[in-house]
Subunit: 460 residues, 2 copies
């Protein structure tokens, strides 16, 4: 039988340390943070080099065995969950920072390095890395690239795509694309690396990444602002951006339902004496901290006079800033507190986000009186997250999804801003893409992976 | 005969105003600024809508007729020059700015709008567009996207790719990809628009572009700085960037040979009383002009003490700044003054640019004593241009190219930073791309254009 033959060749090529067979695969590789039912893979391979990935893919191509690339398994769309009969490929052992160049501002890393390790190495070199998100301690750079990760830094630095200067990728047939040339400008044929960013492992396995770092700000000020409604939140964002330009580094909006959940789950003190409809966590970079705090105070006073701001805290220390940011950490606790958590990650025209949240709330309440939905997001980027407690909707997850994505279609939004399609959003992909676009994507998939071995069943 | 049948259907479908046959096609559509020998196309089509482009492509697919997309015909690599038996498709009539939204900072345009029109519309709306280059008055946005244009603004805003939020593209079979959704974050399957940026018209015809605008700086200061050598030029760039960060908007380096040519061809006064090895034109953005000038003066004084700067002019008016920038305009005169101009556009590791220029000069002088090569470029981006007067090398253009690209390979550079591959750099593409990369590009080309009708013979 070909599968047995494959497994025997796999062990003899890569060794029992790198390749483990079915029953030996620890359960933590069977699923990810998306809540997808676990699936034991045919085997788990944890390569220590690009060459080992290439050997694996040549074997898989010879035996027609599919692979599922895995990073830190923190994905929320199920893209890294094994499929039956497929080999899971975890990059966790290929995790060395190979080079940091302060002169050029570039860092070359292996795909299995965690985001937090990259962030810390950048800071130690006197710079910063432009992407930050809650799963930073577990998620890996290869996964961040494969999902074109977003997070808190997009407003200032763009998504993961804009931090990537080069990639090394292994294709389904085992050939290696060494697209790691350290040049900002290199228009020599198609910019192939762009194809693999956000492809969720369906076109190849990312093995190395050449990252662009950003200059470290000399000072950062954090503010928590209470506001009466969404339009005020947008008005305050505009005020901040017109005063501080691209130095507005984060603008995270939290509806009261989210704030209450965060306080309860993380056992945090309430930041204000009373509850407000909306809170925004704002980071602004600058040259000198106390000056920056004064400037922010000035903008806030104007916004207060205009009725856009009801209360505000400008952090006076790093510790206080960290305490304020804790409020934003509830998403890490969703799976422990919602049964199950039905998570959404949608993009909308910025001006419509408030009306969209209200429309969702109205639709949910009409059908399930005991609703429990949290609203929060990277509003500066037009990105809203919604989390619904499955228990409160009688486990009718499909109906919740159908309702919310119907509204996304109505508001001309996108069904995935930053989490990707994976398994969970496949039924709704056509709400954000036309038939012609899906045909073009399939043609490209067939061109680079003609046997359909790379993460089959995901995205499409 | 199928070609006659095609032409007759072409005229009956699109009308004699939109489609002109061979002998009626004005000569200006036969070639571009690259100096490629002119070629009369089978027909010229100048569509006024996406629908007309789609009709054309359905006809071409039915009759197996190739097309060559044309923008402003200012390309320097020959990508828009007609090939025998192909239809030239000029986008010049599809040239309306369809929408400018100050709130979102987005502008939607048809592909035939010139870069300068986009720039002016952005300024009129109180913003700026991030790409600028010498051909601004003639080149079109569709061509800028197809070549992933660079120019003077890359240091601050990135290349054309980073200004593009959406594209509308017509594929070879006439199907339309409407990728114009105005969302910053939209991870729903492959980011298809990326594939067409820099593809030089070999994958589809770009018909509409959704552009990101940038906030206008409140003030800009221009400086011309004289320096003794390349390492000093890099040191001054670092000083400027560490003082002004991302507000350093341009840093254009000109070797003395270039400065002399510019003065002679454009009849300009010499900016300094004596000649210097290198001049840099620097733009810095800020809040307040006189403060900015003072700050720059301070940086220059430190650089002078360190021996990195020999002389400098800080422009005291917009008129003086424009006069200084005239020095950088020689490239528009290359074809009038060199016979022919052999132009290079290479990327190199930034620290090696000076040594590379010296190595070129040494190689040229060894073979052709009466050399005349100009060196200039966007050094902040690692991009160097070299122009050699064909007459001074006895017309041995191929030998000049072979010599220079041999050095590019030796220095691990790229044969095209921003001009693209087109026809002229095809023989040298493999110096910057591996066999595996070229195979992947061909696979993608075949996937989207299986009949090979889109700009055949270009890039590959």
């Amino acid at each position: 039988m070909s599968q047995e033959q494959f497994l025997s060749e796999l062990i003899s090529s890569l060794g029992a340390d790198v390749a483990q067979i079915a029953g030996d695969v620890p359960e933590r590789y069977w699923t990810d943070w998306s809540g997808t039912p676990p699936q034991q893979p045919l085997a788990l391979v944890r390569p220590r080099s690009t060459e080992e990935v290439s050997v694996l893919m040549r074997l898989c191509t010879a035996h027609r065995i599919a692979v599922v690339p895995q990073g830190g398994l923190t994905g929320l769309a199920g893209a890294a969950v094994p499929t039956q009969g497929a080999v899971a490929v975890s990059m966790e052992r290929f995790n060395v920072i190979e080079d940091i160049n302060i002169q050029t501002g570039l860092m070359q890393v292996q795909a299995g390095v965690t985001l937090q390790t990259v962030q810390e190495a950048a800071v130690n070199a006197g710079m910063v890395f432009g992407v930050d998100l809650g799963a930073r301690g577990s998620c890996q750079i290869g996964g961040n690239v494969s999902t074109n990760a977003g997070g808190n830094g997009v407003l200032q630095h763009g998504m993961m795509r804009e931090q990537v200067l080069g990639l090394e990728v292994v294709l389904a047939d085992g050939s290696v694309l060494p697209m790691l040339r350290p040049m900002i400008k290199n228009n020599t044929g198609y910019d192939l690396k762009q194809f693999f960013i956000g492809a969720e492992g369906t076109l190849g396995i990312i093995t190395r990444v050449l990252l662009r770092l950003r200059p470290a700000p000399q000072a950062t000020a954090t503010t928590l602002v209470a506001m009466p409604d969404f339009d005020s939140a947008l008005a305050v964002l505009k005020r901040m951006q017109s005063r501080f330009g691209n130095s507005v580094a984060a603008y995270e909006l939290m509806w009261d339902s989210f704030v209450q959940a965060s306080q309860a789950w993380l056992k945090l003190n309430a930041p204000f004496e009373q509850r407000y409809p909306l809170l925004a966590l704002i980071n602004v970079d600058g040259k000198q901290e106390s000056q920056l705090q004064d400037d922010i105070q000035q903008v806030l006073e104007q916004a207060m006079e205009a009725g856009e701001v009801l209360d505000a805290i400008v952090a006076q220390s790093v510790a206080q800033a960290q305490t304020l940011w804790k409020l934003r950490e509830a998403p890490a606790e969703l799976n422990n507190n919602m049964h199950p958590a039905i998570n959404f990650d949608v993009s909308l025209p910025q001006a419509d986000i408030g009306r969209f949240a209200e429309a969702c709330e109205a639709a949910f309440t009409a059908r399930w009186p005991q609703k429990h939905a949290l609203y929060f997001g990277h509003v500066g980027d037009g990105n809203l997250h919604v989390s619904v407690d499955g228990k409160t909707v009688n486990g009718e997850c499909d109906a919740v999804e159908a309702e919310l994505y119907r509204l996304v279609g109505e508001f001309k939004g996108s069904v995935s801003a930053e989490h990707g399609i994976g398994l969970h959003k496949k039924p709704y992909l056509q709400k954000s893409r036309t038939v012609e676009e899906l045909n073009a994507m399939r043609a490209i998939k067939n061109a680079l992976d003609p046997l359909g071995l790379m993460n089959p069943g995901k995205v499409f």
